[in-house]
């Protein structure tokens, strides 16, 4: 890892600013046994946590179970939450750790090769992907959303990454976290986030190119 890559150029945020007022109030009410506040907290974060968990574990049933387990753990450990990081970061740390542990325990060896997956893509999907990758213009997210054929390809490509790479890509590209927050959630160095994300995207690019041929 280079020195430049290890340098966190973003100014460090003060811990007090990490807790948004809404979360802080909800957390305090939950600590006092307010079940309504607990419900609001679950409803507020359940979709985001479920989405990230699903992208990492790639199974809707497992994702639902892990999301539920995450919230149970969050509520049971609220008294231990000291507010040194934001509730959002703390909650995602629990969710991602649970999911990564689950994936490691239930590691499924993918018997499907990249070529086999390539075979599974129909010609239409392959053509759409080829067009997308060969377009010299800057990619437009709105245009991509309209090409629903790409969703399945993107999900398959994401599934070709290992869990730790999937976690970094998901937190960055789907959840939109900064590198610093990703480092906090995954409890890794900032430089590790940079290098892991770089390798993940490189591999993703290779997978997509292979699938487009």
């Amino acid at each position: 890892m280079t020195e430049a890559a290890n340098t966190d150029v973003r100014p460090a945020q003060a811990p007090a600013k990490h807790i948004s007022l809404g979360d802080a109030a909800l957390v305090e009410q939950c600590r006092q046994g307010d079940s309504a506040a607990m419900e609001r907290l679950v409803v507020k974060y359940q979709n985001r946590i479920y989405n990230v968990v699903l992208k990492i574990c790639a199974d809707p049933d497992d994702a639902a179970e892990l999301t539920q387990e995450t919230f149970v753990k969050i509520i049971q450990n609220l008294r231990k939450f000291e507010g040194r990081s934001s509730f959002y970061t703390w909650a995602f740390r629990i969710a991602v750790n649970l999911t990564l542990n689950y994936c490691q325990r239930n590691a499924r060896v993918s018997l499907t090769s990249l070529d086999a997956e390539k075979e599974q893509c129909d010609s239409c999907q392959r053509q759409v992907l080829k067009d997308y990758l060969s377009d010299d213009r800057t990619p437009d997210a709105a245009a991509v959303v309209q090409r629903k054929e790409l969703y399945e390809i993107a999900a398959k490509a994401l599934a070709r990454l290992d869990e730790s790479q999937r976690a970094v890509v998901t937190l960055r590209d789907i959840e939109g976290m900064s590198y610093a927050r990703i480092a906090e959630v995954l409890d890794i160095e900032l430089g590790t986030v940079r290098s892991r994300l770089s390798r993940a995207r490189s591999k993703l690019r290779e997978v997509l190119e292979t699938m487009s041929r």
């Binding site: 539920q68 149970v72 997308y132 390809i153």
Partner: protein, 326 residues
């Protein structure tokens, strides 16, 4: 290797550029590279496409049952916690009870042990009362007449036959002595055919007092014979040349058998002593020197015990007939 690491470094910078995670200086450097290198520009585009593709994936919504499942899970966990907590509380109470029971058992055991040790080690105290230290001159101490007075009362019946050349004088002395010792109410004095007969009914203590007083006149007697009644009527055991000490010792016997046995022994002893040549010379000398080496014994006295009249009367179990003749 260097090329690969160089590409990796460029990729990191490009990804940082895409994600807006670079410092201004780094950002300027990346823009300069992109402007001058079409290959890097192409690579940046590919990375951006990857990012856009993943980022455009639709957000999945959590199943609606997640909230209910979380509630149910928390409720069951709370129930288990409550159950565990109750179990722990009961366990603590049970443990406390067992500890207290153990402590009580240990205390009881220590108490029992202390009682046993006290029974073994503790000194015996007199039944009449605890001994007290005497802090007075010996003259002020009321000395009991005889230590034997405390012996249990056992009925005695006998006769003491005394002969002397001066019966009137000795009789007067005996009478006076009896009166001085406070036994007058128990004494009957009969004179018949030149004999002085005294019927004495007294306790052991009274008899010992009487004998102690008679000690002074005993050498002036010509003979002293004691006859002890036995269970067979008319068959008596006689002790010749009996002394006051022997009389006291005989009466002090634990049982009638013991008294008779002692009487026979004393009789034999006295008869043998009388047959030794020079006994008539030695006797006065022995009598004179008998108390020479007597060391007064320390006395432990307790509170005086006043007996009830009935009790004192019941103690008068000794019947002695003193016959004084010439």
């Amino acid at each position: 290797m260097d090329t690969h690491s160089g590409e990796g470094r460029i990729d990191e910078l490009l990804n940082g550029y895409i994600d807006d995670e670079l410092a201004t200086r780094q950002r300027t450097e990346v823009e300069r590279l992109i402007a001058h290198d079409a290959k890097i520009e192409r690579r940046l585009q590919q990375l951006q496409k990857c990012r856009t593709l993943v980022g455009s994936l639709p957000c999945a919504e959590a199943p609606p049952q997640v909230l209910e499942a979380v509630k149910a899970s928390l409720a069951s966990t709370a129930a288990i916690y409550e159950q565990t907590s109750y179990g722990r509380r009961m366990g603590k109470i049970h443990l406390l009870g067992r500890r207290m029971l153990s402590a009580a058992a240990m205390l009881a055991l220590v108490g029992l042990l202390a009682a046993v040790v006290y029974t073994i080690v503790a000194p015996n105290t007199p039944s009449d009362g605890p001994p007290v230290a005497v802090d007075r001159p010996p003259s002020m101490i009321v000395e009991p007449a005889e230590p034997t007075a405390v012996s249990p009362a056992l009925a005695f019946s006998g006769r003491l036959e005394l002969t002397t050349s001066i019966p009137a004088e000795i009789g007067a002395v005996i009478k006076t002595t009896i009166e001085e010792n406070g036994l007058s109410d128990s004494v009957g004095d009969v004179r018949e055919s030149g004999k002085h007969i005294h019927y004495v009914r007294c306790s052991k203590q009274g008899l010992n007092s009487l004998l102690a007083a008679l000690e002074n006149v005993w050498p002036r007697l010509d003979s002293a014979k004691m006859l002890i009644d036995t269970e067979v009527f008319g068959k008596e055991v006689a002790v010749d040349a009996v002394t006051t000490g022997q009389i006291a010792e005989i009466i002090d016997g634990d049982s009638q058998e013991k008294r008779i046995e002692l009487a026979r022994d004393f009789d034999l002893l006295n008869t043998t002593a009388a047959s030794i040549p020079g006994a008539n010379v030695l006797s006065p000398i022995e009598a004179e020197t008998a108390n020479l080496m007597t060391i007064p014994k320390p006395l432990i006295v307790g509170p005086s015990v006043q007996k009830a009249p009935d009790e004192a009367e019941a103690d008068k179990t000794i019947r002695l007939t003193i016959i004084l003749s010439r």
